[in-house]
């Protein structure tokens, strides 16, 4: 090595293992760049398909790279990155999401007559951002990762560029999103002011050392605002329906799962590692509001994309219930929930994508009338995803809700649990409306039924298998989540657990 004569510097230089610890990000970026470079060289028609395949190969290579990354747990790059079970879990999740989204976009692009290779590149870059969010333990790096993923999503949201709605969606997402990330950054700055560090572990140490300064509370609250926007939790959810309605359907599938999962991962690190005490009630209120507002607003939606947007707000609320619960139980419940939600929601959006057809014409509830007859397989698949979203046994959604609520009950959050279970009961109604439309009404319109392309079938099969697997054999995933949650929490444990207990006890009065 050329720097061998400088032992002092050597210590601070990144080791080889450091690069393995961000191998998935490197692989995804490289494939993204390959797509960008090849795009102008290929002719328009065949190029699309080739680029799609390259992007898919990139996502699969990213999954493989995650395996290598998992072999070298530890910190990298001057404690900015930590590879542990927790980050591996979210890496696998978000990269798998990207793969499924690429698969379900494969035919969509041709049908919508969108010709742009950078679409796939942006998905890969966005995935880099969300993957990095899950392994970053340094607030500034988290912010950068957040920006990488957000900027990709802003552009992707506007990809149906002939449609005014899509442009509106993109612009709205951009303006509000920048505003929200500014909040996050402000929180980071205040946290630095309060503790003199931007490293999560050092912050935790500093906060444990003495009484927590008011500034730190404000900082955590501001960070919560920024991340709450990303996960579409009420009252930071206003953007969701408009953006989801206008953005391309596969991208909505992506936006509603991957960045959300990553934002939840960051929230887990921030909230549980720094302290839950400060914002227990903030989370409590956000959870109750998200569930209730999401479900109530979804009741009256006629556009399926908007309906699923409100449903995603409600689901963010369920996840926040777990946040309000005790650290360890809550963490594994959040992890399981994001995985199950990703499987079922991506699946639902894949069906919506296919059914919407050119120009996304068929997205209202009425259009789904008689789908059970005209394409029984597609309808049956969507039904399973919807049942999972309701939380019916045998589906992943059931165990997801189950773990969340049992965590909440264990933490004695009885009222929040009651609000939650009531919501999940009432929320069944609007998912049921879609099923009713598909099976119990006769079609009144002529809607062309196009055969399901292979790529979409694969995407649906992956989601279906994941949904049913999590619903029938949840043990393994949950065990993994619990193990990695244990790695995450102990560094803070005594202080956090006791303060959480104090607060949860007060909630039950």
């Amino acid at each position: 090595m050329s720097v061998a004569f400088l032992p002092g510097v050597l210590q601070t230089l990144p080791q080889n293992a450091d690069y393995v610890r961000i191998l998935p990000e490197i692989v995804l970026s490289v494939f993204g760049m390959i797509v960008m470079v090849l795009e102008p060289l290929l002719d328009e028609k065949t190029g699309q398909k080739i680029l799609g395949l390259i992007a898919l190969a990139g996502a699969l290579a990213g999954l493989a790279a995650t395996w290598f990354m998992a072999q070298v747990p530890g910190v990298a790059f001057w404690n900015m990155i930590r590879v542990d079970g927790f980050s591996v879990f979210f890496h696998v999740l978000v990269i798998a999401i990207a793969a499924v989204v690429i698969l379900s976009s494969y035919e969509y692009m041709a049908v919508q007559r969108i010709r742009a290779g950078e679409y796939y590149a942006l998905i890969l870059f966005g995935t880099v951002g969300v993957a990095l969010m899950s392994s970053a333990v340094e607030l500034v790096l988290i912010f950068i990762a957040l920006e990488i993923s957000s900027i990709s999503s802003y552009v992707l949201a506007g990809f149906r560029r002939h449609e005014a709605a899509s442009a509106e969606s993109s612009l709205k997402y951009f303006l509000l999103g920048s505003f929200a990330t500014a909040f996050f950054l402000y929180g980071v700055a205040l946290m630095f002011g309060a503790t003199g560090s931007t490293n999560i572990d050092l912050i935790a140490q500093a906060l444990r050392a003495g009484p927590i300064p008011l500034l730190a509370f404000v900082a955590v609250a501001l960070m919560f605002v920024g991340l709450g926007f990303k996960v579409a939790a009420a009252p930071f959810h206003i953007w969701t329906p408009d953006v989801y309605e206008g953005a391309p359907a596969p991208i909505v599938g992506f936006m509603s799962t991957a960045p959300k999962a990553a934002a939840f991962a960051v929230l887990l690190r921030v909230v549980f590692v720094i302290n839950v005490h400060a914002i227990f009630w903030v989370i409590w209120i956000a959870a109750a509001l998200s569930m209730t507002l999401g479900n109530v607003s979804a009741f009256v939606q006629d556009n399926v994309k908007r309906l699923l947007a409100y449903s995603s707000i409600a689901h963010a609320g369920y996840v926040l219930v777990a946040f309000a619960a005790a650290p360890q139980l809550g963490t594994s419940a959040v992890m399981f929930y994001t995985a199950a939600y990703a499987a079922m929601n991506l699946g639902a959006f894949a069906v919506v994508t296919h059914f919407a057809n050119a120009g996304e014409r068929y997205v209202t509830l009425e259009d789904y009338e008689g789908l059970g007859r005209s394409s029984p397989l597609l309808a049956a698949t969507l039904t399973i995803f919807l049942l999972s979203l309701i939380g019916i046994p045998m589906t992943g959604g059931f165990f997801a809700k189950f773990y969340v609520f049992s965590a909440a009950v264990k933490a004695n959050l009885i009222w929040l649990t009651i609000i939650g279970v009531l919501n999940s009961g009432v929320g069944a109604y609007y998912y049921l409306r879609i099923i009713v439309m598909m099976y119990m009404r006769e079609s009144r319109k002529e809607i062309p039924v196009t055969p399901t392309p292979l790529a979409l079938r694969v995407a649906l099969a992956v989601c279906l298998v994941a949904t049913l697997y999590l619903g029938l054999f949840p043990g393994r995933v949950l065990q993994y989540a619990q193990d990695s949650a244990q790695q995450l929490v102990p560094q803070t444990s005594p202080g956090v657990t006791s303060s959480a207990k104090v607060h949860t006890a007060t909630e039950t009065f």
Binding site: V409, K410, A428, M440
Partner: protein, 505 residues
């Protein structure tokens, strides 16, 4: 295979045989005849398998039998724990008995989406059996919720005019009711570390559950609400008439015959089993609701112009008897309650089939559309008479035994309960016989009824087993009660007021 080996897997076989059949059915080509035959074979096979349960049942043994207990999920600690005792044994057999009849009664009445219909029916059967055989609270909830989907789809796809409204109403009522039960189950798990019914019961009984006294009332109500909606107990009954009137015949049969029993079974198993003290404390208002249900249901049934609605409200009334018996905490009352569940399953199942047969011929349930049918459809009229009399509680038919036991239990508890409950029997005779008279006696008032066909072969095979069962159960109730009684006495043990044996052995 030795009986011992079979004993440990028989419940799994009985529970999942219909599901396996349903999955196989998905692979069959859409030839309606083959599908019907296949569904019939599967449901008959399940019935034959389920007969193993009463045949090898140790009648004097009060605890759970044919138990199987394997871990399903490690965290949380969920077990695949199944078993039946005298309370659930016959409900399983009732389910497997009614399902082949449902297949037969739907043989010619379902023409469209035949495959889907029978797949849903078989899946529903699995879920229903699972509810009665689960001894793990989680597993129970799992099957409990799983009954919702096929039933709602059966109503919503194959029902009559207002089917969607009825299906959604049914789904939402039961769904919202049962989430409270979920919350209660979660609380129990959080404080006992187990979903196992037996473990939780013993732990509560020994006082080993932290902060249980404070929560017990809420837990009791959580379970109670889910079951009360299902029973349905007044005032949670409004979904029932809609669901029944709109459901296809087979759906009504299983709905009245088995689904409603899930509620009363749950009250008996969980509300009494887990919370004896709270059950005692809340008994008076629950019995009041049951009495209101008995009388109100009967009075409303009396004025119904629609035959199916009449039968639906008669269910509200009959299920009131069950709840009355359960919360009398007497041996007679509980024995009677379980017997009424079975008898009601048979007789009301039969009534719904008979109503469905008429609807198929005339496409209406209006009582005023008929009259004088006895002369045109003598076999049908005779079968109807047997079932109506069974339902009205004529001695030597099955309705009488159960109601008699329930009322004697209610009298032992408080005379006024018995007196008010007894009026229910009078009312039921009034509305059923009056309905029978208007439909079958007198002159044929509508010429169109002159040409009505009598029972066809399939219909006979669907209805007559019900009539036969009603008769056998009425003549030899000991065959059933002999297995029920030990379980009842065990269930009453915590109440420490077991009153003299009612059933000779």
């Amino acid at each position: 295979m030795k009986t011992d080996d079979l004993n440990s897997i028989i419940l799994t076989l009985v529970t999942f045989a219909p599901l396996a059949g349903g999955l196989l059915l998905m692979l069959l080509p859409r030839r309606d005849r083959d599908i019907r035959i296949f569904a019939l074979v599967i449901s008959l096979l399940t019935f034959v398998l389920s007969l193993h349960l009463p045949v090898y049942f140790h009648r004097s043994h009060p605890g759970f039998q044919y138990e199987i207990d394997r871990q399903w999920v490690s965290t949380p600690n969920i077990h695949y724990h199944m078993g039946v005792d005298g309370i659930s044994l016959w409900l399983v057999v009732l389910t497997t008995f009614l399902t082949p009849l449902c297949v037969l009664i739907s043989w010619n009445s379902i023409h469209e989406r035949v495959k889907e219909f029978f797949i849903l029916l078989l899946i529903l059967e699995t879920a229903l059996i699972g509810v009665f055989t689960s001894l793990d609270l989680f597993l129970f909830y799992f099957f409990w919720e799983a009954t919702l989907i096929p039933m709602a789809l059966l109503i919503g796809i194959f029902g009559h005019e207002r089917k969607v409204y009825a299906a959604v109403k049914f789904f939402m009522y039961t769904m919202i009711g049962s989430v409270f039960m979920l919350a209660a189950i979660l609380w129990l798990y959080a404080h006992t570390g187990s979903f196992d019914f037996v473990v939780i019961r013993d732990q509560i009984a020994s006082g080993g559950v932290p902060s249980f006294p404070a929560a017990a009332q809420w837990l009791f109500l959580g379970f109670f609400l889910a079951f009360a909606v299902k029973v349905p107990l007044f005032p949670f009954h409004t979904w029932l008439p809609d669901a029944h009137v709109e459901a296809p015949t087979a759906g009504s049969v299983l709905l009245a015959g088995v689904l409603l029993k899930m509620g009363t079974y749950g009250l008996l198993r969980f509300n009494l089993g887990l919370f004896p003290e709270q059950a005692r404390r809340n008994a008076s208002w629950i019995m009041t609701l049951a009495l209101i249900g008995i009388i109100y249901g009967a009075l409303v049934a009396m004025v119904q112009p629609n035959m199916k609605k009449l039968i639906a409200y008669s269910s509200v009334s009959h299920l009131g008897f069950v709840v009355l018996g359960i919360f009398s905490f007497t041996q007679a009352g509980l024995n009677g309650a379980i017997f009424v569940m079975l008898a009601h399953g048979i007789s009301t199942g039969g009534l719904f089939m008979l109503a469905g047969i008429l609807h198929e011929r005339r496409h209406t349930y209006e009582i005023s559309e008929f009259g004088g049918l006895a002369s045109r459809m003598p076999v049908y009229a005779a079968s109807y008479l047997v079932i109506v009399l069974a339902s009205a509680g004529l001695p030597l038919l099955n309705g009488f035994i159960g109601e008699f036991l329930v009322l004697s239990g209610a009298f032992q508890d408080k005379a006024v309960y018995g007196i008010l409950g007894a009026t229910g029997i009078i009312w039921s005779a009034v509305y059923l016989l009056w309905m029978y008279q208007r439909v079958f006696y007198g002159k044929v008032t509508h010429p169109v009824n002159n040409s009505l066909r009598d029972l066809s072969g399939f219909e006979k095979w669907a209805v007559w087993p019900c009539a036969a069962a009603a008769l056998v159960m009425g003549v030899a109730p000991i065959m059933w009660l002999g297995a029920i009684d030990p379980a009842v006495r065990a269930a009453l043990a915590p109440f420490a007021q077991v009153v003299g044996k009612v059933v000779g052995q």
